[in-house]
Structures are given as structure tokens and as C-alpha cells.
């Protein structure tokens, strides 16, 4: 939409400014224009102040408190605490959960996008899937935990049916639903819809002419996929994969509602540090953990934006 409208916008601006110049320029003296400029700058202050107080200050506080003790003295103990085997294990578990659900979500989501190829963009099927995907991608938190306890919990229909008729106890090796392994299943539920939302526009960017050109030059469907579709889609696919990773890595509410014991992933570790104030006998550990998370998120999101800018090249 941006691209389609850009020439119109420029042309429109040019049209309106050129006949307007003689009329408006003399009317507004330089001083009046300067004061109006000041007023318009003032118009930016509410948003600037708001973002300063509720976004920048909290972010800075969050990533710097790790460097200080409760009394405000500088310390590196908390940061060194990130290297504690327990904390490293938590980061590893978070990486593992995020990576597995991101890969599964990306592959299944890409399959769904593939299945939607060739359907009408404004058709009923597409609009229902669009809406369902955006609801389910938002469907995190406590309610998702309920859904999975009802679906595959100890007393759920599926669990009881499998146990009583097939004789298969999905919890024979312990109640994994309430442990990090359970998060793998539950997180996938919002990863797949997010992939559909982010990857579908890229898949739609595949132009029919490319397929025609491939066919005209004697290519097969295989060469179409290996020489055209995969190379074009790869940046978008891996970009979406990174977004999914970030999404799972930063997710807190579902795990908080589901995981019964301990703090196996980083967000839950932050909760423990915030609530008890002295995890591992260190003050302000939450700040150090938050810093660790932000570093990971910045790297992942940077990769995402690099890949995304490569993607948009093909969507023009």
C-alpha cells in the first residue's frame, strides 16, 4: 500500500505546494512561521514524555539495576550471577523451548500458508483463517494454560480415552505438561498462527510471471522451487523463524499459569527474583536476568529486521 500510494502522494504534494506558494508565503511572516514551528514541536511533547516515563525509564532501570546493590553501590556480582550453572541452565532451557517451538511453528505455519496459495485473497476461507490466526496468536497466557489442561491434562477427554481404550498413558513418564516439556506443546499453539500471519504476505509475493518464466525456459516444478521460490522465500522464512523465537523467549503468562514447580525458564526466574528479592542470595538479580533477556532479544530482533528488509525487496 505504501509503495502503490507513494507516487500519488508525492505528485499530490507537488501539485498543492506549487500553486499555494504565492498565496501563503507572503501571508505568514518568518516570525509567525517560527512560532508555529515551536508550537508544532510542543505537539510532540506529550508522546515524548509518556514514552520517556513508561518505556525508556523502565527499560533503562530494568537493564541497569543488575549493576547495583540494593543500597545503590556498583557491583558486578549480579552480572557474574548470570554465569551460575543454575541460571545458565535456565537460559539453555529457554533457548531450547523457544527454538523447538519456533522451528515446529515455522514449518507447520509455512505448510498452512502453502495450502492457502491459490485461494482468493478476499475469499471467505482466507478471511476466516486470517482472523482465527490473529486471535490464536494473541491467545497466550492463562487461558491457553486452561485450554491445554482441559485438552491433554490428567483428567482430560483425550488422556482418559487413550488410557482406557488404547491403553496408552501419555503421562506414564510423569506429568510433563506442567514441566518445560509441556511448554513445547502449549507454545506451539500460538507459534503456528503467528507464522501464518507473518509468512503469508511473503508467500503471496511469489509472482505468477516467475512460474511462467520458469515454465517457458523449460523448468520443472522442482526447478521452480529450488531455483526461484526457496531463494526468494528464505529470508522471510528465517526472519519469521526469529520472530517466533523471540515470541516464545519473551512469553511469560502461560508458563506462570502452567508450570507448577521451580523456575525452569528465564521469565519465571525473573518472577522468582522479583518476588523473593534474594534469589541465590543476590539482590537485584532480576535486573541482571532482564539484561540477559534484552541482550538475546536485541540480537534476535536485529537479525529479524535484517532479514525482513531483504524480504521486502520481493514484495514490491
Amino acid at each position: 500500500m505504501t509503495v502503490a500510494n507513494a507516487p500519488v502522494l508525492v505528485a499530490g504534494a507537488a501539485e498543492t505546494t506549487s500553486p499555494q506558494h504565492p498565496l501563503t508565503e507572503p501571508a505568514s511572516s518568518p516570525r509567525r512561521r517560527a512560532s508555529r514551528g515551536l508550537v508544532t514541536y510542543l505537539g510532540l511533547t506529550p508522546f515524548a514524555l509518556y514514552v520517556l516515563v513508561f518505556l525508556f525509564i523502565p527499560t533503562i532501570l530494568a537493564v541497569t539495576t543488575g549493576f547495583f546493590t540494593e543500597d545503590g553501590a556498583f557491583t558486578l556480582t549480579n552480572i557474574a550471577g548470570l554465569l551460575d550453572p543454575l541460571v545458565l541452565n535456565t537460559f539453555a532451557a529457554s533457548f531450547w523451548v523457544s527454538a523447538v517451538t519456533a522451528v515446529v511453528g515455522a514449518v507447520v505455519g509455512a505448510l498452512v500458508c502453502y495450502a492457502l496459495l491459490g485461494t482468493r485473497a478476499d475469499g471467505a476461507l482466507r478471511s476466516v483463517i486470517d482472523s482465527v490466526a490473529s486471535v490464536l496468536a494473541q491467545f497466550g497466557g492463562v487461558m491457553l494454560a486452561f485450554a491445554f489442561i482441559a485438552a491433554i491434562g490428567l483428567q482430560s477427554l483425550l488422556t482418559l480415552w487413550l488410557k482406557n481404550t488404547v491403553g496408552f498413558d501419555i503421562y506414564a513418564n510423569g506429568t510433563w505438561l506442567y514441566q518445560p516439556a509441556g511448554l513445547l506443546v502449549v507454545y506451539t499453539y500460538f507459534q503456528v498462527p503467528l507464522m501464518v500471519i507473518t509468512f503469508l504476505p511473503a508467500l503471496e509475493g511469489l509472482k505468477r510471471q516467475w512460474a511462467e518464466a520458469n515454465a517457458t525456459l523449460g523448468g520443472t516444478r522442482l526447478t521452480y522451487w529450488t531455483r526461484i521460490a526457496f531463494p526468494v522465500l528464505a529470508p522471510s522464512f528465517f526472519g519469521s523463524l526469529l520472530l517466533l523465537f523471540a515470541n516464545a523467549f519473551s512469553s511469560y503468562a502461560t508458563a506462570a499459569a502452567l508450570v507448577s514447580q521451580g523456575s525452569p525458564i528465564v521469565p519465571l526466574q525473573i518472577r522468582a527474583a522479583l518476588v523473593s528479592e534474594t534469589v541465590l542470595g543476590r539482590e537485584n538479580m532480576a535486573g541482571a536476568l532482564a539484561l540477559g533477556m534484552v541482550v538475546v532479544m536485541v540480537v534476535v530482533m536485529w537479525g529479524y529486521s535484517v532479514l525482513q528488509s531483504r524480504t521486502s525487496r520481493w514484495q514490491r
Binding site: 518505556l55 523502565p58 532501570l61 502453502y114 490473529s134 491467545f139 500471519i197 522479583l274 532482564a290
Partner: protein, 280 residues
């Protein structure tokens, strides 16, 4: 994320060599659809369960309309009230703080557009669980200044919804020739207030509505910040109720889910009408 979705329809359906045949398409959609419908179905089934007996009952639903329901679920109803209030105030912040800034930047400071976009995307990189670490000290000041009422939490939620609201409004701003419209209004001697109210807002209605709906949906589902700042909202109350009466918790979760679905479905419809409108 919805903005991406809204954009997705802008290319007409492409029929290319890669497109799957009908059987493959419906096998993929059918299997994924069934797997994803199952947890929702299981939630519905759960609300009709008669304890662990294996039978089914309507009691959990009818119980909501009992005389003592208002007393039994008082905390839950308070929490719903809190969440609705937070949704309204958050939408207010989007409309009063974000929207005018976006219009102003679009019209007067085109060079700041990238900066604004960058700022609005930050909350994706700084997740709520990180933000809350820094919000705790900020809120200890906020409570001193504005009191400890629940609505102050909307300041934090305004940040949480920033990426979503930004994309919804921006895609509308890009689609409408705001510069020409406002200059036309100004040339016809309308003041900025009139231009904003009578010219720009009607043209930005869809983006503004979409931003409001997605904000409501996000606020109703928010748990992290409320829980860790010890405030009561719908999600924290649901978790609490689920420990004593899981059936009612699941019923309200389903209702909240249905509401979110209606809100996001209407965003999809807004997107479609915009598209057909711009084509004609």
C-alpha cells in the same frame, strides 16, 4: 501483527506453479484445523463436566445466574470491571497521545517517521517481563502522584499495545493522502482543529478503530504486568478462581476468547472494506 495480516490481501490471489492441488490443501488445512480446534472444544466440554463422575451437567453455566453468584464471584466481577476500565483508558491513551503524534509527524516531521516507528516497535524487543522489572520503581512514584487506583496500570498497557496500535494507524495513514487532505482543508480556511476533526479523523476511522480493537484485545489478555505489580485484572483473577472453581474460570476464559475473536474479526472486516473502497 494484524497490520501484516491486513496487508496480506492486497495482492490478488496468485495462481502459480507452486500452488497445491485441492486434496493436499484440504488435508493440510483439515489436520491443522482439527488439532487447533481440539483444545477449544476441550474447554467447552470441560465447562459441562459433572465433577470427576464422567457425566455432564449444565450447572456450571446456570450457576452464574444464581442469586448468590454475584457474591461468590465478586472478585471475578470486580476484576472484569477493572479490565474493562483499563481497556477504555488504554484506548484513550492511544487516541489522545499516540494518534495526534502520528498525524503530526506524518504532516510536519516526515524525517521523524523512522524514529517514531522505531520507538513504537521497541516494546516487542523489550518484553513485558523485562519491562515490569523497571516498571516496579516507576509505579512506586506513580502511586504517590496519582494514587493506587487500578486505572494507572493503563499507562503501562499503553506501551504494551504501542506496536499493534502503531501498525494499525500507520497502514491507514499510508493509504490516505493525508498531506493533500489537510492542505485542502487549510486552503479552505479551516483551522487545524477543524481539519483534524472533520477531514482527517473520518478518513482515518478504520485505522483508529482497528487500533482500538486490537488494544482492547491485548489489554483483556494481559497478565504479566498486572500479576507482578500485584494488581487485579481479568487474567490474574481467572488464575485465582481456577484454583477454587476451575469450571467458572474456563467459562470466563471462553467468553473472553469469544470477545477477542469478535474484535479481531471486525478488524479483518474493516481491512476488507478499506481495500474494496480504495479499489473502486
Amino acid at each position: 501483527m494484524t497490520a501484516v495480516k491486513n496487508d496480506s490481501g492486497r495482492l490478488a490471489a496468485v495462481r502459480i506453479g507452486a500452488e497445491p492441488n485441492h486434496v493436499v490443501r484440504w488435508i493440510i488445512l483439515g489436520v491443522v484445523g482439527l488439532v487447533f480446534a481440539f483444545p477449544i472444544f476441550a474447554m467447552v466440554e470441560f465447562t459441562f463436566r459433572d465433577g470427576l463422575s464422567g457425566g455432564h451437567t449444565l450447572d456450571h453455566w446456570t450457576g452464574l445466574f444464581d442469586e448468590d453468584a454475584a457474591r461468590t464471584y465478586r472478585n471475578l466481577f470486580t476484576a472484569i470491571g477493572n479490565s474493562l476500565l483499563l481497556a477504555v483508558v488504554t484506548v484513550g491513551i492511544v487516541l489522545v497521545v499516540l494518534l495526534p503524534t502520528m498525524i503530526l509527524v506524518h504532516l510536519q516531521f516526515p524525517r521523524l517517521r523512522r524514529v517514531l516507528e522505531f520507538i513504537c516497535i521497541i516494546p516487542i524487543t523489550v518484553p513485558a517481563i523485562v519491562l515490569v522489572v523497571g516498571l516496579a520503581p516507576v509505579y512506586s512514584v506513580v502511586v504517590k502522584v496519582a494514587g493506587g487506583s487500578i486505572w494507572t496500570l493503563a499507562f503501562a498497557y499503553g506501551i504494551t499495545v504501542l506496536p499493534y496500535a502503531y501498525r494499525a494507524i500507520q497502514s491507514n495513514l499510508d493509504a490516505v493522502d493525508v498531506v493533500t487532505l489537510s492542505e485542502a482543508g487549510r486552503t479552505l480556511s479551516a483551522g487545524w482543529g477543524r481539519v483534524l476533526w472533520f477531514v482527517l479523523l473520518p478518513n482515518l476511522k478504520r485505522g483508529v478503530l482497528a487500533a482500538s480493537f486490537i488494544s482492547v484485545a491485548v489489554v483483556l489478555g494481559e497478565f504479566t504486568i498486572a500479576s507482578l505489580l500485584n494488581r487485579v485484572n481479568l487474567q490474574t483473577a481467572l488464575l485465582q478462581v481456577s484454583q477454587s472453581d476451575p469450571y467458572v474460570a474456563v467459562i470466563f476464559a471462553l467468553l473472553a476468547l469469544a470477545l477477542a475473536f469478535v474484535l479481531l474479526l471486525s478488524i479483518g472486516r474493516l481491512g476488507r472494506t478499506r481495500r474494496t473502497g480504495s479499489e473502486s
